[in-house]
């Protein structure tokens, strides 16, 4: 029988604000936050998408009215943000699948100063994710707004 976990007092906890800024940490800590935000964004889009397409059951006028409303430039920009978020979330998700299974993190090394740690040794992987996501978002921007 596992020992039950008690919640500690939250008097000095950073809370959700701590996801955004908690100190001078490296890239991965902020990718953690971005991954959550983009995940929530994609989920929100899914709900909105189901709601928008379900207006068809109320007949053609309702459907056309909804489509007219969604053609507003703000929604088009929102659609672009969802795609850019999706690209980042997918690429970072692949990185996380590997690293959360202990791959792409190296092996435990003897604790000799200056200390190394797996995520820093494999930081190029995180940089690659960011670069590919930026390229994907740029291509989508050109496709949706410039071409």
């Amino acid at each position: 029988m596992a020992i039950p976990l008690k919640a500690r007092p939250v008097q000095n906890d950073l809370g959700i604000v701590g996801w955004g800024w908690a100190g001078r940490y490296g890239l991965e800590r902020y990718l953690y936050t971005l991954h959550r935000l983009t995940g929530l964004g994609v989920l929100f889009y899914l709900v909105l998408h189901i709601f928008a397409t379900s207006t068809r059951i109320f007949g053609e006028p309702a459907w056309k009215a909804t489509m007219g409303f969604l053609h507003h430039p703000a929604f088009r920009f929102g659609e672009y943000l969802v795609f850019a978020g999706f690209v980042f979330h997918a690429l970072n998700g692949v990185r996380l699948i590997f690293q959360e299974l202990g791959y792409l993190l190296g092996k435990p090394t003897p604790p000799v100063f200056p200390y190394s740690y797996g995520l820093r040794d494999f930081r190029p992987v995180a940089f690659l994710v960011v670069v590919l996501a930026v390229v994907g978002a740029f291509v989508a921007f050109c496709d949706m707004f410039l071409v």
């Binding site: 029988m1 596992a2 020992i3 976990l5 008690k6 919640a7 500690r8 007092p9 939250v10 008097q11 000095n12 906890d13 950073l14 809370g15 959700i16 701590g18 996801w19 908690a22 100190g23 001078r24 940490y25 490296g26 991965e28 800590r29 953690y32 936050t33 991954h35 959550r36 996380l96 690293q99 959360e100 299974l101 202990g102 993190l105 190296g106 092996k107 435990p108 090394t109 003897p110 604790p111 000799v112 100063f113 200390y115 190394s116 740690y117 797996g118 995520l119 820093r120």
Partner: protein, 277 residues
């Protein structure tokens, strides 16, 4: 001209009043650590300042605090490393503050206990048969055994920031320290503490724990290896080389030729008050 550093400290007294910042001017000497500056303030400027410290050499883990937006061991960090002439010192986030810079670490120790942080063996130990470990078997867990329980990893973890019930990187890394040890046979028992809500699966690899750890423990690596071991165990694939017992040792037998001898006794039991009389 004397070099001075401005030290702003967050003061809080658990008396219902909100925390406030107080500023002190401290003469900066070469090699001066943040702890030295706090000692100077306590001895010369404000005796009511509360902070925790003990060994002054990065071993005890008492003096972890949040300095200019990053958690450090105060005894282990020189002021010039911060690179600023103004230090803003706050208590470690994600732990309740008792007074000023002293935080309550009892939740850290409670979580540490829940992961059964000791070797679990199915047989009674036999003093005459030492367990043999190869260097690579030692390296599998050595890094994780350097944890000093300072709480810096928990203060950096964003999951700990928003989930006060999460086991946290310190306890999880220690769970792997013992599970990776091939003398240990308690992974199945330890699994109950890890594979549950607010357990190991709540770690989403932000990496701040490993980045900030002052002892190079790399909790993030240990936790991810723990996840892999748990998944493997669901399929019955978690294996580690079983530790072997060495040849029997007789404590009465004379040491082999060439083996180092203990130093000769310079004080006889009769010479001391500890003679057992």
């Amino acid at each position: 001209m004397e070099r001075r550093v401005s030290v702003k400290v967050q003061r809080y007294a658990s008396n219902g009043l909100p925390p406030r910042i107080e500023q002190y001017e401290v003469p900066q000497k070469e090699g001066m650590t943040i702890l030295d500056a706090l000692m100077f303030i306590k001895e010369n400027l404000d005796g009511s300042l509360a902070f925790r410290a003990s060994c002054r050499m990065g071993i005890c883990g008492s003096c972890a605090m949040f300095v200019n937006g990053y958690p450090y061991l105060a005894c282990h960090t020189q002021i010039h490393e911060i690179g600023k002439q103004e230090l803003i010192i706050k208590p470690l986030p994600n732990f309740p503050v008792v007074k000023d810079l002293v935080v309550d670490l009892s939740s850290l120790f409670d979580r540490h206990r829940t992961v059964l942080p000791y070797l679990i063996r199915s047989e009674e130990p036999d003093d005459t048969r030492p367990i043999v470990q190869r260097p690579d078997e030692l390296e599998a867990f050595l890094k994780f055994s350097y944890c000093i329980k300072c709480g810096i990893c928990v203060s950096g973890c964003p999951t700990c920031a928003s989930d006060p019930t999460f086991l946290g990187p310190q306890a999880l890394a220690q769970a792997w320290r013992y599970s990776a040890d091939n003398r240990d046979e308690g992974f199945a028992k330890r699994k109950e503490s890890l594979d549950r809500p607010h357990g190991v699966w709540n770690c989403h690899l932000a990496g701040a724990c490993s980045e900030a750890c002052p002892k190079g423990v790399d909790p993030a690596l240990g936790i991810q290896r723990l996840k892999r071991a748990l998944i493997a165990s669901y399929f019955g694939l978690f294996r580690k080389r079983k530790a072997t017992l060495g040849p029997p040792v007789s404590w009465e037998a004379a040491p082999p030729e060439g083996a180092p001898r203990p130093p000769e006794r310079t004080v006889t039991p009769e010479d001391t008050s500890l003679s057992g009389d």
